[in-house]
Structure formats: structure tokens, C-alpha cells
């Protein structure tokens, strides 16, 4: 599972961090960053919630290509 954060869209209000503070953190640049990349699979549900609820549609979830 891979998460992409679009820096042109993110306005840094941290809905994502509010949902999963172990995975997202808004940094000093005002943009969300990943604390765990890739994030653990067992957090998938809450990550999907963040993707859904991010008001600026800045988050995108992509399954990691098989390696």
C-alpha cells in the first residue's frame, strides 16, 4: 500500500493527522507528511477514511506494485 500526498492540493488542516496521527503529520511547511512509508497494512481502513475525508482530495492510495 502506497499513499501519495499531492503538495499542490494539501492545505494542511490535518484531517488526516486527526484520524491517524501515527501515519500523517502536518509539518512546518504546512503540508502533510508520512510518518511511516509505506504504512502498515493493518491501518488500511483508517487510511482509506483519510483519503475519503481529505477535503482537498490531496491523498491518493495506490497498491504497491508487486516486487
Amino acid at each position: 500500500m502506497n499513499i501519495h500526498i499531492d503538495p499542490d492540493r494539501c492545505t494542511g488542516h490535518g484531517v488526516c493527522e486527526g484520524l491517524a496521527e501515527d501515519i500523517f503529520e502536518v509539518g512546518d511547511d504546512g503540508l502533510a507528511h508520512l510518518l511511516q512509508d509505506p504504512p502498515p497494512n493493518d491501518r488500511r481502513e483508517v487510511i482509506e477514511q483519510a483519503v475519503q475525508q481529505c477535503p482537498t482530495l490531496a491523498l491518493r492510495l495506490a497498491d504497491a506494485p508487486p516486487s
Binding site: 494542511g12 488542516h13 490535518g14 486527526g18 503529520e25 502536518v26 509539518g27 511547511d29 504546512g30 477535503p55
Partner: protein
């Protein structure tokens, strides 16, 4: 059927499709332009290129600058299968026969309808025959203002709200002499309270914008074009351009006599449903019960419009139980190089607490209701907002919020009553 092809409308269309709606989606918008994003219009758009707006002016007549679109046209039409009808104005609604009335007398039947016609800039109460008076709500407004600013030495802005403040900041940064005239003694006091309003005013004066509070504009004078603005204290300001930024009014005129209950906006229940069957509302005009207080609430912010569009659409098409709309409001605004963020419901009737020093351009104002935190306004504290959102959502005790904010933003002198935290290095 969605009326109003802007943020709330586009998000409604998208959410309806994503939630599995397979039927027709018609999105109707009065403006000819593809749905575009409004926030940049008072910020980067007014100056666009990094140089003074005067640059390339003749070119602009032929090729007016493009706005940021909310969604690419092919994505909207092809991927989401939206029947987008631009330049079409709704003039009425027949909630008995379930038909939308259009400016060309057409009647379009609907099963579900989402009202998302937003708001319109409040007009100046008196008319003037002089040119040079501007508003800022639409792309066309922004293009006109942008062209005017290219020839402006003195700009007078009526109203120290967010839009007026943003335009003042943009203009000042480009060497225009900007003066804001505000009737209240403290800018934005009604929205963010006295403490934050005073602190925000510092951002203007520090940057060189003139702020005249507690006075009213009484008249404009000039020959053909505004040259002077007259104030209630007798002073006269030179002006090439005047921007009226005195708020916005919900665009509900077309709903008069439709059977949809209005109340300074469209009256909704907690599910964003209106009084008419199958009709929902979203965005700047939707008034809904306050989730945490007495009374109702109408939000005129980007995030709210985006969320409500999606929320109303999901509730409109669901066969399951609808969900309540219970937001934690969020607004941002950019002045000079400062980012202002507000989260929650500022209780402006209770004392708020300032942490940090406005003169450094980094501070936070916390709002309380009885003993818990209800809102925060942060300037240049990007990391703080997400953490404060958490505390506000949890209705955390006031003392916890104070401690956490002080940790994030250690003040030079700790505010009375708060604990000083030593920062781990």
C-alpha cells in the same frame, strides 16, 4: 440534478458517482466558465506572474489569465459522466411537480435536487455613476480587478474581512498603496473576537497597509472615475480603485415562492435536506442546526462547501439511513507571507487567550467555552492546527489545550495562568 457549478456542486456530482449513482447527473451553472476555484482569486491570481500586475497588460485583453479549474472538463464529463450545462441560469423551482425552471422557460424534471448556488458579493448600498468600484466574487470580477490594479497607485478597500485583507496584502506586496476602511473598531472582531482581531490588524500595519477603523465611507468623488473616497471623520483618501469587501449574501433569490424554506440562506435539517421533498442544499448558502450549540450555522468557507457538497449528495441518493453533517469548521487565509488558520467555533463572547507575540508574526489564539477548548486561530503555526483539531474534536479540557499550544509555540514570556514548558532539544 445540481444547481450551481462551483465547489459544492462539483463535489456533489463527484460524490454521487462515487457513492454508486448510475443515473443522470445534470450540473447547471450560470457562469460560462468551467468550474473554477475561488480562493486564488484574491491571492496569486491578482498578480499571477511574479512581477507587477501591469506586466503584459495588452496581452490580457486577448488572453485573459486562466483560473485554477476544480476538475478537468474531460474528467467531469467523461469519467464522471456529468451533463454539464454552463451559462444556464435557474430562475425558479416547482417543488410540487419537481421541476427546475430555467431562464429560457425550459422546465427540467428532477428526482433529487441539490441547491448549490453559493453567495454573491454584497453590493454597496448607494449607487455611483463613477467608474472604479469593484467587487470580488467571480472570475470576471477578479479579471476586472486585476486589470484595474495594474493602473492603480492608491487602492481603497472597504471592509477588513478576509477578502479585503487578502487583496490589501496582495496589493501592498506589489507596491500599491492600500488603505482598508473598516466600520468596526477591531477588524474581524465579530468572527474571531477582540484579541485575535487586534493581533491580525498588526499584520497589516506591520506590512505597510493603512488600516482605518471605526470610520465609514460616505461618498466617492471624481470626474468619470473615482478619484477620492470620503470618510465619516471628514478625511478624504485619494483612490484610483475601490474594492467593496463587505461580505456575501446567499444566492437564494431564485427560490422565492418555491416552497423551499429560506432563513438567511436555505434552511436545512442536520442531513442537509431542505423543507421540500428530495431537495438538499450545500455550500455557502446552506444553513443547518449547529452540532455543538444552540441555533443554526451557515459557513462561507471552502472546506465546508467541499464537504457539504459531498455530504448532501450521499444523503440525497442513499437508500440507507442518511448521516448528519457535524463539521469542525476550518478556514484558512493568506495575508502577506502569513498563513492564518482557524479551526472550530470561536466563542467570541468569552475571553480568548493569546499565546505568542503578534509582532513576530507567529501566534495562536485559543477560544474556550466554560472549561473546554472550542476553537483556535493560528498564524504561521502549521504544525499546531492538526493537533488543535484533535483537542477541539475531543472537547479537551482548556488546561490541556493551553499546555499543548505553549509547548508548540514557546512564548518569550509565558501568559499568565499557563505553565511554562521546557522544550526538549
Amino acid at each position: 440534478m445540481i444547481v450551481g457549478a462551483s465547489l459544492a456542486g462539483v463535489r456533489a456530482a463527484r460524490a454521487a458517482r462515487h457513492a454508486g449513482h448510475t443515473g443522470t447527473i445534470i450540473l447547471i451553472g450560470a457562469e460560462e466558465h468551467l468550474p473554477y476555484d475561488r480562493p486564488p482569486l484574491s491571492k496569486t491570481f491578482l498578480t499571477h506572474s511574479s512581477d507587477h500586475p501591469a506586466a503584459h497588460e495588452p496581452d490580457e485583453q486577448a488572453h485573459p489569465p486562466a483560473p485554477a479549474v476544480l476538475m478537468a472538463e474531460d474528467e467531469l464529463r467523461d469519467d464522471l459522466g456529468v451533463d454539464l450545462r454552463l451559462g444556464v441560469t435557474a430562475t425558479g423551482l416547482d417543488t410540487d411537480s419537481r421541476e427546475l425552471l430555467l431562464h429560457d422557460q425550459q422546465r427540467l424534471p428532477y428526482d433529487r435536487l441539490i441547491i448549490a448556488t453559493g453567495a454573491t458579493a454584497r453590493r454597496w448600498p448607494t449607487t455611483t455613476h463613477l467608474a472604479g468600484l469593484h467587487y470580488l466574487r467571480t472570475l470576471d470580477d477578479a479579471r476586472a480587478l486585476r486589470a484595474a490594479l495594474a493602473r492603480t497607485t492608491n487602492l481603497v478597500i472597504i471592509g477588513a474581512g478576509f477578502i479585503g485583507s487578502e487583496v490589501a496584502a496582495t496589493a501592498t506586496q506589489h507596491g500599491i498603496h492600500a488603505t482598508i476602511v473598516e466600520t468596526q473598531d477591531t477588524p474581524l472582531a465579530h468572527a474571531v473576537g477582540q484579541t485575535a482581531g487586534t493581533a491580525l490588524a498588526r499584520l497589516h500595519t506591520q506590512a505597510g497597509t493603512t488600516l482605518k477603523c471605526g470610520v465609514q465611507v460616505t461618498d466617492f468623488s471624481g470626474t468619470g472615475h473615482i478619484e477620492q473616497v470620503h470618510l465619516s471623520d471628514g478625511s478624504v483618501l485619494p483612490a484610483d480603485t475601490v474594492l467593496v469587501g463587505i461580505g456575501a449574501v446567499p444566492t437564494t433569490g431564485w427560490l422565492t415562492d418555491s416552497g423551499v424554506a429560506l432563513d438567511d440562506g436555505v434552511a436545512c435539517d442536520p442531513y442537509l435536506a431542505t423543507s421540500a421533498p428530495g431537495v438538499y442544499a450545500a455550500g455557502d448558502l446552506a444553513r443547518f442546526p449547529h452540532p455543538r450549540r444552540e441555533g443554526t450555522l451557515r459557513l462561507e468557507h471552502w472546506t465546508a462547501a467541499a464537504e457539504q457538497g459531498a455530504h448532501a449528495a450521499r444523503n440525497a441518493i442513499t437508500t440507507a439511513a442518511p448521516t448528519r453533517y457535524e463539521p469542525v469548521p476550518y478556514v484558512w487565509s493568506d495575508w502577506y507571507s502569513h498563513r492564518i488558520q482557524i479551526i472550530g467555533d470561536p466563542h467570541t463572547d468569552q475571553p480568548s487567550t493569546l499565546i505568542g507575540d503578534p509582532d513576530t508574526g507567529q501566534f495562536t489564539v485559543l477560544y474556550r467555552h466554560n472549561n473546554h477548548i472550542t476553537a483556535a486561530l493560528a498564524v504561521n503555526q502549521p504544525r499546531a492546527i492538526a493537533k488543535l483539531r484533535r483537542l477541539i474534536t475531543q472537547k479537551a479540557p482548556w488546561a490541556d489545550a493551553l499546555t499543548q499550544t505553549t509547548t508548540l509555540n514557546p512564548p518569550a514570556t509565558p501568559p499568565a495562568g499557563s505553565r511554562t514548558e521546557s522544550r526538549a532539544t
